[in-house]
């Protein structure tokens, strides 16, 4: 499939190359994997390599195939085509019970009639371990997830967040080589979710277990993952570190799904400029030919406010002369705690309004208020272009 070019393609591939160079042997290798349900193709040509100890997030809108891919890795739903190697062992067609992983489901699937201790011990019993060893391992795990006092209770007596941690403890009890988490936090309320994010991440670091977490929450993925696999309609759109994905989205979908965007229809002009509305903007146009129809994207946080006279004020902050300066009128302002979200209109951009996030500081310093006319800069290097289908 053809990918949209990011404006700075070179650093991306460099960073990736460097990363792959110093990560040792790949732990999980998925090659050319397909999954179809009758005529419906749920996964299309998925290839992915995961290094040992990595924390990977599968991120994408609901129904894009994340769970399907996770279940294929787990051997719970066999893929239609494709191979999966785990630690150089071909596990493509092994039954779930002969693969090496622990899993936590969205529902936690805790056994309701067993106590917390019995739940955690479930995978340890029946393996020839002596009873005292099992008991001490359970105690260790309970301490690890911070629930030592709850061992004798039943799952229904615990809160959602506690149940989630028990499910995690049960999954890691058998010291699996791979930890699979399917939307582990989505059933919890926001506060517990943020707290548990850190706990899971800390636990993963401590154990060094290779982890794949499925989520549809971009914030969660950005906060937790070493690398994010962005999926849409059964294909991988992009694989990369959180900053890479955020800074250099390779498709419009990725740009839009991760973070927020202003999108403008545009046309590529010769000599490194594009046309939006009826005016020209400076922009990196490598990979595009003149007259290509594109979508130009800029994130609200990347828009720089300059007050009434940009050249005077910003000479200190920015050595280079600002390019792409436009006059804009502030139509609406919304205070979101950390920053102000503003809606601007600018004659040069045509009909569409521009959403920009300004720091509290900048708003105060530049006396930005509803109805004011200010100058804003759309930085050249933050203006991303994506090809628009005919």
């Amino acid at each position: 499939m053809r990918h949209a070019m990011s404006i700075e393609p070179t650093p991306v591939s460099n960073a990736r190359g460097a990363e792959e160079a110093h990560t040792p042997s790949p732990y999980l290798e998925i090659t050319d994997l397909w999954k179809s349900y009758g005529d419906f193709v749920a996964l299309r040509d998925i290839s992915l390599t995961i290094a040992k100890g990595e924390f990977i997030c599968f991120l994408g809108p609901s129904g894009c195939g994340k769970t399907t891919l996770l279940r294929a890795i787990a051997g719970l739903d066999l893929q239609t085509h494709g191979t999966i190697l785990q630690g150089n062992r071909n596990i493509s067609t092994l039954p779930a019970s002969r693969r090496d992983y622990g899993i936590v489901f969205q529902s936690y699937a805790l056994f309701p009639n067993l106590t917390i201790e019995q739940n955690i011990a479930f995978g340890l019993e029946n393996t020839g371990r002596p009873k005292p060893e099992i008991a001490s391992r359970v105690a260790e795990l309970l301490a690890m997830v911070g629930l030592s006092a709850q061992g004798k209770k039943y799952p229904a007596q615990l809160s959602g967040g506690q149940q989630q941690r028990i499910a995690l403890a049960r999954a890691i009890a058998i010291s699996p080589g791979l930890l699979l988490l399917d939307e582990p936090l989505s059933a919890l309320d926001a506060k517990v979710r943020v707290h548990l994010r850190h706990e899971i991440k800390a636990l993963q670091r401590k154990l060094g277990v290779t982890t794949i977490m499925v989520t549809h929450d971009q914030e969660e993925a950005l906060a937790m993952a070493d690398r994010i696999v962005v999926m849409n309609h059964g294909v991988i759109e992009q694989v990369g570190s959180p900053t890479e994905i955020y800074r250099h989205p390779r498709t419009l979908f990725v740009a839009d799904f991760i973070g927020e965007t202003n999108q403008f229809p545009g046309k590529v002009l010769p000599d490194g400029q594009i046309e939006i509305g009826h005016s020209a903007f400076c922009c990196a146009t490598e990979g595009f030919a003149a007259d290509d129809i594109v979508t130009a994207v800029v994130r609200p946080v990347d828009i720089i406010p300059h007050g009434a006279d940009a050249h005077a004020v910003n000479a200190v902050d920015r050595p280079a002369t600002p390019q792409n300066l436009i006059d804009a009128e502030v139509r609406e302002m919304e205070f979101l705690g950390m920053f102000w979200r503003t809606r601007l209109t600018a004659p040069r951009l045509g009909e569409r309004s521009l959403v920009a996030d300004f720091s509290v500081n900048a708003v105060r310093r530049l006396s930005i208020e509803t109805g004011a006319v200010i100058q804003v800069e759309i930085p050249r290097e933050r203006l991303l272009l994506f090809p628009r289908g005919a």
């Binding site: 499939m1 053809r2 949209a4 050319d32 397909w34 179809s36 193709v41 299309r44 040509d45 787990a74 051997g75 719970l76 066999l78 893929q79 239609t80 085509h81 493509s92 067609t93 092994l94 039954p95 779930a96 019970s97 002969r98 693969r99 992983y101 622990g102 899993i103 489901f105 529902s107 699937a109 056994f111 309701p112 009639n113 067993l114 479930f122 995978g123 029946n126 393996t127 039943y154 799952p155 229904a156 007596q157 049960r170 999954a171 009890a173 058998i174 699996p176 849409n232 309609h233 294909v235 498709t251 419009l252 979908f253 090809p387 289908g389």
Partner: protein, 671 residues
């Protein structure tokens, strides 16, 4: 999204991936095969054999036999003559007499009017085809070889009919008005009973859910009583109340209770709990919001009733109607006791098989009886599917508000129906305890001296308890394991749906039909399972199969409520499925398993229809004893035995409640 046209397509080169099977998979497959085989042997095969029997006709083929007669010396043979030539000349066997059954025998001597068994004349007989068969005394002879007999032996030579497949039996059935009339009778009785039962059940369920009448719990309990007694018992009660010596005989204004009237009243009695429970469930899920809407639109009471209440419960009503219709049309016990000369399909099967030993005609009636039952079943299944969709909407339960007038009417009606149910039971109880109702009301226990009567005595009661316990034990085991295979295994999709289909079938198979099918299948020396014929084992298998469907659905419902990922978790933890099964699945589903056990127990105690063909002298049953003692005119002992069944079931229910409470308190602490 930008997937181009050049996007790669799924490489479809040859091989499909197949998951390597794990040990669990193999064990599950084996288990499924075992339980599937059980259903095939206990249900599929017998029904198939019965169907083929109904299409088998037996007829003496006279052209297939030839005779030769010697002179007085016994060595000089006369000309060869075919049996049909002899018959044309002599006219000894009419055309009707040629139509026979699988047991048919035709004496060879019929064709020789001047036969004398003391004469020195010898006879020869042979077939003209390899299949022509005849008996010489006990030995079966076949084929085209001549066989010589002296006259003493020839006296004991009988021809056997040839069998062929065809619709002859059905033609005979429909051209015999006495038989075909039963179809009309059965449908009529079922239809009338359905209308009455559904109306009464709906009124009761309405009162219990939509009014604030007192004593709801008590009424609910009383309304389930009829489930605990055999359907013969209301028949006996009606005989005592309205029969020839009945105290209320005059109420019938000259009509006889023996016949349609008795059948309808008795049917209402024993089908009421079933209809009541279904409609009660349908009405309890009603959505209060609909009622609020109706009130805010100022709809009248009657309009609310017709536009909200009835449509909301319509699937429940239709479902209940089919259940009642099927129960009545397939019931055997009640019309046997109270039906008099009024012929019904289920009784016809019994008469054909037990009375006339005409198994083929029994099979024909069975096939005919299967038609309405299967139709009702198929329609009901579709209805149920739609009701589920209705259920899944999130509803706000409706809480009725007091309304003195309405509440009083509902209470009055519930009292009336309870009086009817308790009255019938009380009648049997009194009849069982007095010397001779209604003339000599001194108390006595002589009616409980079953050992002095035909029917099986106390041993039959003991057998019934044994059967009920074994059925409950073995049945819950098979049913739950089977439901687990259907619900909780992945893969084997075809096997699983076939299995589910087989499990749903018993619902549509009337007991009489199942029993007769068992005779055909198991009472065949060629069947390796022939040895269980006449034992307790066949009674247990038959009863489990007969009541399989409801138990299966109960187990399925319980299993569906469990997290579908338990199995995935267990296999990710490398634990075999049976460990999960015994440590989690069974304990969590224990309440449902206990419900299945008590359901099977109660039904095994009361059932007559299937087992009436299968019991032997060693395995007589209490419910069959009720039937046989009633048949023999020992009605009071029959009532007494019926009451014994009732007491046992009440006791079983109490024990069930105790176990459920005690055991669950221990194993279900997590609830």
């Amino acid at each position: 999204m930008n997937i181009d046209l050049e996007a790669p397509y799924l490489p479809l080169v040859g091989k499909r991936l197949r998951q390597e099977s794990s040990r669990d998979d193999r064990i599950k497959l084996g288990l499924m095969a075992v339980i599937g085989l059980y259903l095939v042997v206990a249900l599929g095969a017998p029904l198939f054999i019965m169907l083929s029997k109904s299409l088998s006709t037996y007829r003496f083929d006279l052209a297939a036999f030839e005779f030769q007669v010697s002179d007085e010396t016994g060595t000089n043979w006369g000309p060869v003559v075919a049996a049909d030539a002899l018959n044309q000349k002599l006219g000894v066997v009419t055309d009707e007499e040629l139509v026979s059954s699988s047991d048919g025998r035709l004496a060879a001597t019929k064709f020789f009017p001047d036969f004398s068994f003391r004469s020195p004349v010898h006879y020869r007989i042979r077939g003209t085809t390899a299949d022509a068969a005849f008996l010489a005394g006990p030995t079966l002879e076949k084929g085209t070889e001549w066989r010589d007999y002296d006259s003493g032996t020839f006296r004991r030579v009988v021809l056997r009919p040839a069998s062929s497949l065809g619709l002859e039996n059905f033609k005979t059935y429909f051209s015999t008005p006495a038989l075909a009339r039963s179809i009309y009778n059965s449908v009529l009785m079922a239809a009338i009973s359905t209308v009455v039962t559904i109306s009464v059940a709906f009124a009761l369920a309405y009162g219990l859910t939509r009014s604030c009448m007192p004593l709801k719990g008590l009424f609910r309990g009383i309304l389930t009583i009829p489930i605990l007694v055999p359907s013969l018992l209301p028949g006996i009660a009606l005989v005592y109340l309205f029969g020839n010596q009945g105290v209320f005989k005059d109420w019938l204004m000259g009509y006889s209770i023996y016949g349609p009237i008795g059948i309808v009243i008795g049917s209402v009695f024993f089908t009421l709990p079933h209809a009541f429970l279904i409609i009660l469930t349908a009405l309890s899920i009603a959505d209060a919001r609909h009622y609020e809407a109706a009130t805010s639109l100022k709809a009248s009471k009657w309009r609310t009733f017709t536009t909200v209440t009835v449509p909301g419960a319509r699937f429940g009503i239709v479902s209940a109607a089919f259940v009642v219709f099927t129960l009545v049309i397939t019931d055997f016990g009640l019309p046997k006791v109270i039906g008099g000369q009024y012929s019904m399909l289920a009784v016809d099967i019994y008469k054909q098989v037990i009375g006339q030993q005409n198994f083929e005609m029994g099979a024909v009636v069975s096939v005919i009886l299967l038609v309405p039952a299967i139709l009702a079943f198929a329609v009901d299944r579709r209805m149920q599917k739609r009701q589920v969709a209705l259920l899944s909407a999130r509803a706000v339960p409706y809480a009725p508000k007091p309304n003195a007038g309405m509440d009083r009417i509902c209470f009055g009606f519930a009292c009336l129906v309870s009086l009817f149910i308790l009255g019938m039971i009380a009648m049997c109880q009194i009849a069982a305890l007095v010397k001779f109702w209604p003339y000599d009301l001194t108390l006595t226990t002589k009616n409980f001296a079953f050992d002095l009567m035909d029917g099986g005595g106390w041993a039959a009661y003991g057998n019934s308890i044994k059967l009920a316990l074994l059925t409950a034990l073995f049945g819950s085991l098979v049913v739950f394991a089977g439901a687990y295979m259907v619900e909780k295994t992945d893969g084997f999709r075809f096997g699983r749906s076939l299995f589910h289909f087989l499990a749903m079938m018993p619902m549509a198979v009337p007991g009489m039909v199942l029993g007769l099918a068992y005779i055909f299948f198991f009472n065949n020396p060629a069947n390796p399972l022939n040895s269980i014929y006449g034992t307790m084992a066949i009674l247990v298998i038959c009863t489990v199969t007969h009541f399989y469907t409801v138990a299966h659905l109960t187990a399925l419902t319980a299993l569906k409520q469990m997290d579908p990922e338990f199995e995935s978790v267990a296999s990710s933890l490398k634990q075999p499925f049976h460990r999960l099964f015994f440590r989690v699945t069974v304990p969590v589903c224990l309440p449902a398993i206990l419900n299945i056990a008590i359901y099977l127990f109660v039904n095994a105690m009361t059932t007559v229809s299937a087992v009436v063909f299968l019991y032997s002298t060693d395995t007589k049953l209490a419910s069959v004893a009720v039937l046989n003692m009633d048949d023999a005119g020992d009605i009071a002992p029959a009532a007494a035995m019926g009451m014994m069944i009732f007491y046992t079931n009440v006791a079983a229910k109490l024990v069930h409640a105790l176990i459920a409470r005690g055991l669950l308190a221990r194993t279900q602490a997590w609830r």
